[in-house]
Symmetry: C2
Subunit: 351 residues, 2 copies
Amino acid sequence: MAEHLTLSVDAMGGDAAPEMVVEGVELAASSIGGDVRFLLFGDEQSLHPILERFPLAGQTSTVHHTTDMIKSTDKPAQALRGGRGSSMRLAINAVANGEADAVVSAGNTGALMAMARFVLKTLPGIDRPAIATTLPTQKGRNVMLDLGANVECSAENLVQFAVMGEVFARAVLGIEKPSVGILNIGVEDLKGNEAVKLAAGILQETPLPIKFHGFVEGDDIGAGTVDVVVTDGFTGNVALKTAEGTARLFSSALKQALTSSLIANVGALIAKPALNILKQKFDPRSHNGAMFLGLNGICVKSHGGTDGTGFAHALQVAADLSRNAINESIKSDYAKLRADAEVIQQAAVSS
Amino acid sequence: MAEHLTLSVDAMGGDAAPEMVVEGVELAASSIGGDVRFLLFGDEQSLHPILERFPLAGQTSTVHHTTDMIKSTDKPAQALRGGRGSSMRLAINAVANGEADAVVSAGNTGALMAMARFVLKTLPGIDRPAIATTLPTQKGRNVMLDLGANVECSAENLVQFAVMGEVFARAVLGIEKPSVGILNIGVEDLKGNEAVKLAAGILQETPLPIKFHGFVEGDDIGAGTVDVVVTDGFTGNVALKTAEGTARLFSSALKQALTSSLIANVGALIAKPALNILKQKFDPRSHNGAMFLGLNGICVKSHGGTDGTGFAHALQVAADLSRNAINESIKSDYAKLRADAEVIQQAAVSS
């Protein structure tokens, strides 16, 4: 797969689709490297003129004409029933039938999750897929999951997320032995709800070579205390969006301060190259691309409001995950965890 | 109460106590204004020499000698059983027996909550106290609760938090008609767990003059979409700490950028007065002072690691809450909510 890589793309998903999708393909075609091909699912008549303007995208893409598309307002169940001929659904199908290694869409998240789950099915032993993404930290980047697929989670779900997140961190961040923490409201064993306490117990005892750190708190996300932050979808979604909101609050306050006087403006102008580095670090486009982990196929969700640069990053994430065969690793790691758990359980019963 | 105000202070709580506490009293004695007195509970021999160096604190304070104190490592149950003679416990007692209008401590949070709840009891109709604090937003400041007192919350708990938070916003932020939102992972009615959906339903129907906005998401906290953000203690604690961690991440990245080159340094030097305004806005000391809402008495928790300036702010919060008779408002608002609920229920039964 390292040489031949085929990415299936929902060309009609996202606020600025299909133009931004094609622009992303143009950028990714050169940045991903190797022999990469794109299957673009969408309206031929819209796509062809755009592809003429982006020569690299034109050379590396095959257009699969679809007239139907999922709207951002469609409910998941609605999309599942009525969207069988949509660009999103056909792009997912391409992964299921082996035509593509991964699918990327910037469309409706709920619809994408429902369809991907229905078409690709979950990996053996994984009850529920989770949404994972990378985030900037004081030490570099880390991974957080679940970000909203599962409102309520059992201890077993959290353990599955830990296994999947650890593999994701290895594949996308290239960390050899990522450390894993469970998000809680304190680091002591007594704190938190039953699910986090039980999950921590299971991860502490597992002979699986997971570097389990224990509990982490909200401020550990930005501090980069661990490489993988495991949490339920409700808490994870709130934490992710709170971080985004705080970054925006800080950015706007900084901008306001640096334009508050003529002198401040002069200072900002002089420091501009340095401030641009800062801007880049927090640029949401360079963190774009959340994966639906735990499915029998690679499905990457791009932010709907992104541009070509951001979409190219989501395509890069899909390429990294495909080339690192993430799902094979999750399957074998999780099978090992279950086998170990059975051994422990039998030992406990017979003792 | 507007003229005579007595604040009870745990002089031994906090990393830099008792020095930082006395310094806070010195600053608050002038900033609070009016006739304010402080009851300092703590070790006489440590306190007297410090009070000599802070003349205003010396003039406005009475020292109540205690030898015992709660350690930061004490478990709540341990503190409750063994800490009857501690500075924290006696400071709380002063509110219960009417000697003081409010109590402020920078000590062990769990111990303070357990003792305050045991000594002061909850307000009529309030099942569980919640921790509330103010946060900086793009529009000014808002209030968030619960921040960790209740790991799991029912819809009824969330409704009680909404009533208490709304009154808190009026008292501390001086907003005449604060808007209230429930934290969720989407703004649509379908999203979220049962508790938030039910609570939203109750608040939508209440004839109580609460300006209920509906659901808000994590990024609405920093955006200042609503004046009061209501959530369970697990999510609220994670959100608060995630915001703190993100602010720290951003600050350190900014500092790093502005010292990355000689030119950047020059720019930063010129823009320094403007950057100082930014620093002040996010200074945790100017948001210090979380209230334990829903108790039959005012109990304010200061951050344990704060300094005199931060402790003075916590004392100011206690003064504002006392002078605005926050608990009287909560009692009457909540009684009204319950009466309204009964009327609605009876109407439903008889129809």
